[in-house]
């Protein structure tokens, strides 16, 4: 049924349709509307049988999900940013134990400085944890990916993170088609665990594994993600037959067939990029877009195939590997190793900085002309940056950086020295 609702509510309704059995969550912006909506559904009897647990920290949230999943219950939680980091130990534990937990990450920047707005640093900080990571482009896809996530997670017995841009998607009202329960039931069968805590068949889960076996166990986690590379497109195709739309998959191409320049990105920014590309195409530019939906497992072959006939690519990412450059860009470069393709990285939108179509027009034209440094920081205020660098050169007690920058921008009126 078509509805005009907030992204968080759409996700909550999608998750509820998946018949979760244990939901546990700790509040953090900007995911709170999701779990609030689910909590209301459970308390009101709309979502049953389901246990909703208000936990005392994100670490507890993932731990409760671990216990519930290990005991055979379909488990779900949601978090962002600081919360994801707080549960990091448990995140690795869940994937190490092979528990098919599904978690929404409402992508948000990580502090310090504290920032509640969108970028991809949180999810990407856990990219090596063993969790599968899927990035939604729209609220429709965010809803759809949760259904695919439960199916995928339980099939390969690995946890899946569904990432959606905080505020930009979670708090946006847009049209979504909320599926019928029968459709979801046809796609997602009841959870049959590979292992579970059951008095009828006692087993020990979580033993120490020493040097003699650890490599094999870790390789098997990697092998499961390699299996997922095959299953993800198949599950997306199956989704289409039941629900009638394209959703999920490993990558999505747009106008790439004859493109000389291809822009690569993840998440909601793909929308703005496509509008920009349409306008440039209308002026005769041969430019296209490659959207990456499955970040982990990273679709090296599909990325390479999409880029191989182009002349150059630009990775536009909402993430920064401090001291190195792009994060997504590094993975993309791995995919095109040996092809000689020229690549550029643009870091944009950190901490929720809006990404304007007009800025993308300029940036993409520079990319076409290959007039970009290896790393570009889109719309960076160099005056402010240089002012701070100069300040630090001049005096030892230069003050906290964030506050200095805010002061220079006129956002705070605090006085310094």
């Amino acid at each position: 049924m078509l509805k005009q609702i907030e992204g968080s509510k759409a996700v909550a309704q999608g998750v509820a349709l998946c018949r979760p059995e244990v939901i546990c969550a700790y509040p953090i912006s900007p995911q709170t509307h999701i779990v609030e909506a689910l909590g209301k559904m459970v308390k009101g009897g709309e979502l049953t049988p389901c246990e909703f647990i208000n936990v005392e920290s994100e670490f507890a949230a993932m731990s409760v999900a671990i216990g519930a999943s290990a005991a055979g219950a379909r488990s779900y939680t949601a978090t962002a940013s600081q919360g994801l980091l707080f549960m990091a130990e448990a995140v690795y534990n869940a994937s190490g134990l092979g528990l098919p937990i599904v978690m929404t990450v409402a992508n948000r920047a990580i502090g310090a400085p504290i920032n509640i707005w969108n970028d991809h640093s949180d999810a990407l900080s856990q990219r090596d944890s063993g969790w599968l990571q899927l990035f939604a482009e729209t609220n429709q896809e965010a809803l759809d990916l949760h259904i695919q996530a439960f199916r995928l997670a339980e099939e390969i017995s690995m946890p899946v993170m569904v990432c959606m841009d905080g505020f930009i998607l979670t708090h946006a009202f847009e049209r979504v088609d909320v599926p019928e329960q029968a459709q979801v039931d046809a796609y997602l069968p009841p959870f049959v665990p590979r292992q579970s805590l059951d008095p009828a068949e006692p087993m020990s889960i979580g033993a120490m594994v020493g040097p003699e076996a650890f490599m094999e166990v870790r390789y098997l986690a990697h092998a499961k993600q390699m299996q997922a590379l095959e299953r993800i497109p198949q599950l997306s195709a199956e989704f289409k037959t039941i629900f009638g739309r394209d959703s999920g998959g490993l990558v999505r191409t747009y106008c790439t067939e004859d493109a000389d320049t291809i822009i690569i990105a993840m998440g909601s920014i793909l929308g703005t990029i496509k509008d920009t590309v349409d306008e440039m195409r209308a002026e005769g530019h041969k430019i296209g877009v490659l959207g990456i939906t499955s970040y982990r497992p990273f679709p090296l072959t599909q990325v390479r195939d999409a880029l191989i006939h182009a002349k150059r690519f630009l990775v536009l990412e909402k993430s920064l590997a401090v001291g190195m450059g792009g994060i997504l860009a590094t993975d993309v470069r791995m995919a095109v190793t040996g092809t000689g393709l020229r690549g550029f990285t643009a870091i944009a939108g950190l901490g929720g900085r809006p990404i304007y179509k007009s800025s993308l027009h300029k940036l993409f034209r520079q990319a076409e002309k290959e007039e970009l440094p290896p790393n570009t920081f889109l719309d960076l205020d160099w005056n402010v940056v240089n002012k701070q660098l100069e300040r630090e050169k001049q005096m030892r007690r230069s003050g906290p950086i964030a506050e200095n920058v805010l002061h220079d921008l006129g956002i705070v009126s605090a006085k310094f020295g």
Partner: protein, 197 residues
């Protein structure tokens, strides 16, 4: 694509207004996208919200920088925030005020050809009358339906019923309807050339 930018202060229901406009547009079969500006929100602080309406899927995610319409819920923002940034001269403006555009110092913004696209309505007073409390956001939607013609009053009413119930819904509907009628009258007067600005 038609882009509406809402300006107000925290606590005035600016975000709800944008959301309800998107629901009204959806009810008419349009695609619509509504989202808040992502600044720190607290009661009394300037708040901006956005609503895009189009006939096809809306992919653009940037804040609205070239609005086709401005809905200004709090006129005290006029000289505090650059409300008209990017505003197209042929766009629509609806201000919540009982004052005239001259009193607000806006006369020079208005081009003669678009006199009928600038309307003022005392939405706060209307909401107090019908709801007992100052909540101008919903009446302003009724006014917007009138000044722009981009959505029908009936769709606004449907959106009200979707969000509220009982006396609150009834009060909001009455307020939206009164604002609609007042703005429609003002618009007709301007079109006839005798705008009482």
């Amino acid at each position: 694509m038609f882009q509406v930018r809402f300006h107000g202060r925290g606590g005035q229901g600016v975000v709800t207004a944008a959301e309800m406009l998107s629901v009204a547009a959806f009810d008419e079969g349009h695609h619509a996208q509504a989202f808040p500006s992502f600044g720190s929100e607290r009661t009394g602080a300037p708040v901006v919200a956005f609503c895009r309406i189009d006939q096809k899927e809306i992919r653009l995610r940037e804040p609205i920088i070239e609005p086709d319409a401005l809905i200004i819920q709090d006129p005290t923002l006029l000289h505090q925030v650059d409300i008209f940034a990017g505003f197209k001269p042929d766009g629509y403006v609806l201000i919540n005020t009982g004052k005239s555009f001259e009193d607000l110092g806006l006369s020079e913004h208005i081009q003669a050809a678009y006199l009928d696209r600038w309307c003022a309505v005392a939405a706060t007073e209307i909401s107090i009358k019908h709801l007992g409390r100052p909540m101008p956001n919903v009446p302003l939607l009724g006014g917007f339906a009138a000044v722009s013609g981009k959505i029908k009053l009936a769709s606004v009413i449907k959106a009200i019923n979707g969000k509220f119930s009982g006396k609150v819904a009834a009060g909001n509907i009455a307020a939206a309807t009164e604002a609609y009628e007042k703005v429609m009258a003002e618009k007709q007067a301007a079109l006839r050339g005798g705008k009482n600005a």
